[in-house]
């Protein structure tokens, strides 16, 4: 089922009497989630991700705007009639019920002609449990299971009614690093197997990038950019999006454009045509540096960190706003950590210019 948001806005009254006014948690959302895709709703803490999700689930009523599932307007429908499955950040498994009872619970709620027989319920429950591979834990209580197992039970409970839309609110934030990796692949697999349109909320960009078909980057209730993860990474529309995506994070510099050239401090580092002269923010991805003895960019060497396959050169530069510059280069290249300076050439496709005031992206050609 495709999901369409039209001018969706949610305002909360501000409790702080001194400030007054309203908090706009979700500001004029307009986008479409194609049928059967997994999209990642991504943004820093407090940017309105959970609010957006709760609007789609129906737990919150929007201040204005509409929500469509397929062609049907569901804005006024209560959550139980929307056909959504919701997985909460803390799973919200009923602690007094076994896994079996937890997964059966939504089915037992069905009334009237939707009512199922005991056998059918049992069968559907087993199906869902098998899908998330917890069918051997059915008699356990939630507290007798690991975080990853609980998370899978929560997914099974959300899936057992075969919802049209599956909503996941930071489902991995309680898991350790290894389990996170494993479980996010699991979520991807389950989503592919069922083909259910899925919205996945996270503040971890790596998580969103790795499993989503499409990511929606939010800041302070506003959608900043929508697109395929690689597209958004390769051409961020603003400094915020550029800073938000990527590990290690993008290196930010204060630069100046003059006569078609980009200057960092006094160094003329790159030809940038088609931009007006003046001060700019410069973002350079860690993989945008190449070692070059005659490179135009001269940085002060701090050290070298070996990270398995790659090597990260840590250096500083006068124009750099981040505390250090991290540049990733292949392990074969020779770099002497003891030398005073290190010289780089820049890959133009990994260098972004942003307007000094609006922080919006400025295109340039070579």
């Amino acid at each position: 089922m495709k999901v369409v948001l039209k001018n969706l806005t949610k305002k909360f009254p501000n409790r702080n009497k001194k400030v007054g006014g309203e908090i706009i948690a979700v500001n004029n959302f307009n986008f479409e989630i194609p049928d059967g895709k997994l999209i990642g709703l991504l943004g820093p803490s407090g940017c309105g991700k959970s609010t957006a999700l709760n609007l789609i689930s129906g737990l919150l009523k929007p201040t204005s705007g509409q929500i469509f599932f397929g062609d049907a307007d569901v804005t006024e429908l209560p959550p139980e009639n929307r056909g959504v499955g919701l997985v909460f950040q803390n799973y919200a498994l009923y602690p007094h019920m076994t896994v079996r009872q937890n997964i059966l619970f939504p089915l037992e709620n069905l009334k009237g002609d939707k009512k199922l027989s005991k056998e059918v319920m049992e069968q559907k429950m087993l199906e869902a449990a098998r899908l998330v591979q917890i069918d051997m834990l059915l008699e356990r209580k939630p507290k007798e299971m690991s975080g990853g197992q609980q998370q899978r039970v929560a997914i099974a409970r959300a899936l057992v009614k075969r919802p049209d839309v599956l909503l996941l609110d930071e489902p991995l934030s309680n898991l350790d690093a290894r389990l996170r990796l494993q479980t996010r692949e699991e979520i991807r697999r389950i989503q592919k197997e069922t083909g259910i349109t899925t919205i996945f909320v996270t503040h971890d960009q790596e998580e969103a990038m790795s499993i989503s078909d499409m990511i929606v980057v939010m800041e302070k209730g506003i959608v900043r950019q929508i697109g395929k993860p690689q597209e958004v990474y390769d051409s961020p529309v603003s400094l915020f999006v550029a800073k938000f995506l990527g590990t290690p994070p993008i290196n930010v510099f204060e630069g100046r454009v003059k006569d078609g050239y980009l200057y960092l401090d006094d160094q003329k580092v790159l030809a940038v045509k088609g931009t007006k002269d003046g001060d700019v923010w410069v973002g350079i991805r860690p993989e945008g540096f190449t070692l070059d003895e005659n490179g135009p960019m001269i940085c002060h060497m701090n050290g070298v960190e070996v990270m398995g396959r790659d090597v990260s050169v840590v250096s500083t530069h006068k124009a750099c706003v981040s505390p250090v510059i991290r540049s990733i280069i292949s392990a074969e290249s020779k770099v002497d950590p003891a030398s005073e300076n290190v010289r780089f050439a820049l890959k133009p496709s990994k260098v972004f210019l942003f307007d000094k005031n609006s922080e919006e992206r400025m295109e340039f050609t070579l």
Partner: protein, 296 residues
Amino acid sequence: MEKQSLKGWLYLLPAMIFLGVFMVYPLVDVFIYSLEEGFNFVTQTSYGVGLYNYSYVLHNSYFIQAVKNTFLLVIITVPISTGLALLISLGLNSIQKLRDLYQTVFFLPYVTNTLAIGMVFMILFKSTPYSDGMVNMLLNAVGLQSIDFIDGPYWAKMFVLCFYTVWVVLPFKILILTSSLASVNQDYYNAARVDGTGSLRIFTRITLPMISPSLFYLVITGFIGAFKAYSDVVALFGTNLNAAGMNTIVGYVYDMLYSDSGGYPSYASAAALILFVIVLTITCINMLVRKKLVYI
């Protein structure tokens, strides 16, 4: 390890000494009293040792009446007060406006003196030569006969006592239950809503199990409290409870200790121990039931 545990015991010592002197020793003493036949308080001597005191108490019609009263009080007031408190707490929990105000109002009886409340109940229920009391005026207004709730028929007195007891214990129960209800994670309700759970089912399958530990705590302390009822009865019916037929077990013990003839500590001790055994048994049964019903 040895040293560690020795240190632990050392820390516990002051508390142990106090408990020993003020709790264990009196208990043992009461037990001994209860077995000494014909104990004379003045000479501190007795004829012998045996179970006669128990036999006497168990055959004493005042004691039997007191046991009957106490059990009635327990059986009637514990379910009613707990149920009522649950209803009120659910109501309080579902309103937003003026919630604090209502909470305070419901909590007021808890910080009011028992005897003061007793006086108010007297005024409400007692019929004097000058007035019939508020309740009787109301009864008359709807065309019913006056009833003497304080000196009248047994059921009327029992009614007042139960009414009063429920009234007195209600605030504490409401306090416990409202906070218990408020501490249930909202996500469970949201999850249930998304799953299309009806409100009755939410109550029976989610709310009740979630607050069951508090509910059980209230039932157990309610039982114990009602078994130990005394001051409430005095507040309503005065000190001559045996004559009024409204004595409780604790009242009986008290009367036995301080009756005009110098008191019968042996009988009092026997009655006290019988009460102890009753409360212990009921509490044990409660605990066993708890294992079955409470999820934590």
